[in-house]
Symmetry: C2
Subunit: 355 residues, 2 copies
């Protein structure tokens, strides 16, 4: 508290990201990072940008990240004007709250979802109503029919991993043609269907993606929004009133190169999916109930073991998973899919704890 603070600061309850332990070799399954390195082309592109003496770093980056947006547009078969690039999809979502979601009616998002959404809403004074997931932790799009100022859903949802088929996203879009509908596809590449190709048909659709998960670039902070040019213009106007150069030279080079290597991307996703399936089977064999996941994490609950206690005990063994002290999910753990070896260590530790 301080008399120098703007009023809004007193009202904020900031987001708390998953712990980044400062240990030599933690088993880090708590922030949904990809266990595999990015494409080798990413490294080449960064080295090329650095050159012999890093002289290019003295110059500002391209403000609209044009080359990057062109590469991503090409990848998705859309136009560069339909692509917005930001400093991680968190920044893109923040701009979307400010630029597209402040209307007379409250916006709607699920009660169990990415826990940053209510925080953005608070920061920008966006009113919202949360819609309960059903008993199976799934979104029922019919629950989003009532008048609203906008809709925001992750697909797959986080932290549940549950995915909606594209046909359901289209039902949602048809039911809500007059408000922005934002689909946050941070985890889409691990088994869900992207709505990117619907942006021409639905001028109210904004799709948000990231390079942090499937593209192994969490450390470089690059995210996108795809949509009708009017929606992209709203984000651009906010961005250009906030920070002209949100993506540095190396981040632009790294992300551009990632979209030029489809093979390494597909291989990395396939490996994560295979490990997820094994991990799910192993957790179920230990008595866990696991939400069917289309993401790079699983959301699991043991009927006889307290989730917080399990999480704390694992942490003592330098195995990090994520526990949310929130209604309805405080008996669940969200476990990121690591390498096969990392998941084996986790399963061995859980076996002992549960025995």
């Amino acid at each position: 508290m301080s008399r120098f603070w703007s009023y809004i600061v007193h009202t904020l309850t900031p987001y708390v990201p998953g712990e980044q332990p400062q240990l030599a070799h933690p088993i880090k399954l708590n922030t949904n990072e990809n266990p595999y390195p990015p494409s080798p082309r990413v490294l080449d592109a960064i080295r090329r940008e650095l050159g012999e003496d890093g002289a290019s770093l003295r110059k500002y980056p391209d403000p609209p990240s044009r080359a990057l947006r062109e590469a991503v547009a090409k990848h998705h078969g859309i136009r560069v004007e339909q692509v917005f690039a930001g400093n991680g999809s968190d920044e893109v979502l923040a701009h979307a709250f400010q630029a597209l979601l402040k209307h007379d009616e409250p916006i709607r998002f699920p009660d169990i979802t990415y826990s940053f959404y209510p925080i953005y809403a608070q920061l920008y004074g966006v009113e919202y109503k949360t819609i309960p997931l059903n008993a199976y932790f799934a979104i029922d799009v019919d629950d989003y029919r009532a008048p609203n100022g906008g809709i925001l859903l992750p697909n797959p949802n986080a932290p549940t991993g549950h995915a909606l088929p594209l046909s359901e996203i289209e039902v949602l879009l048809k039911q809500n043609p007059d408000v922005p509908v934002i689909i946050d596809e941070a985890y889409v590449d691990f088994g869900a269907e992207s709505a990117v190709n619907l942006i021409d048909a639905y001028p109210n659709l904004l799709v948000v993606q990231t390079t942090s998960k499937a593209r192994s670039l969490a450390g470089m902070r690059v995210g996108f929004a795809f949509g009708n040019t009017e929606l992209i213009e709203a984000l651009t106007r906010v961005k250009d009133s906030f920070n002209s150069y949100p993506l540095d030279r190396l981040a632009q080079a790294a992300a551009t190169a990632s979209y030029e290597d489809q093979k390494s991307f597909e291989e990395s996703c396939a490996k994560v999916i295979a490990t997820r399936n094994t991990l799910t089977t192993q957790l179920e064999a230990l008595g866990f109930e696991v939400v069917p996941s289309a993401a790079n994490f699983v959301f699991a609950k043991h009927p006889k073991h307290d989730a917080a206690t399990l999480g704390t005990t694992l942490k003592q063994q330098e195995i990090f998973v994520r526990h949310f002290k929130l209604p309805r999910i405080d008996q669940h753990l969200r476990i990121s899919v690591g390498t096969n070896d990392e998941c084996d260590v986790l399963i061995a530790a859980l076996k002992k704890l549960i025995a």
Copy 2:
């Protein structure tokens, strides 16, 4: 215009940064970049972070940029809790507008100053009043005595280059103890006195700095605020409600290394200052009136030649300087200090134009 836009988007007039020409070898004196590369240690640090295969990039960066803030705190002889790090000083300033400058009374900043200020104010609904520079394009701190919600000044000012002595900054702080006073020191290392060491004495003082100018890291987007822990907490609360990870791994590594090499930093500043003094003399010999500059640019006006025309003609020769089509300064050009060779090319071109 779109029915999907939040109301605020319709009201925005975004910032337009200096042109980033896509030419092989432009003489680029329009965005105040440093003509010299960053410290060799920056390159080493980036390469170390990348390692053999770039595997660290798959992991999120440290959310509070702790190691970087420690290096900068050590450099300035202050505590890490007195340092905030953001994605360029533009992001830091944006957060400061939202976190510290929205009060009942309008804030005050100069009529001729960094043209992003009124844009931030618009984005966050911060009321402001501009205070005219005096006839010599200097700030008179006595003009900031009236009741206000906060004060924001660059020192040296941009685009004039004029610097206030620290004693005047202290007068300003003493005259305004009850509101935040923000000193934007983007250019301070080229000849002005920093107010960083006043933060213990004045709990309302926030000093903003950047690595983009004197540290040759415009391409990496790293800026700071220094102040009382209460002020830093306000910025941190906004940052953590906006984007947990604004600085990527390579940006953190690069900026940290820059603060570990005082020698290369001082040499680079000394070269820029020497060139600025030569450039000023040469421009004056051509009949230009040059505002005394403590920055890495000069602000110059020719009594007989229209500034916009000069700028356009130089651009045709691939020499880029900045012209602002704004009241009081539309007959000035802001010319960044390049290498000696770049400034020689500029002077030769101007000689022909003015002859």
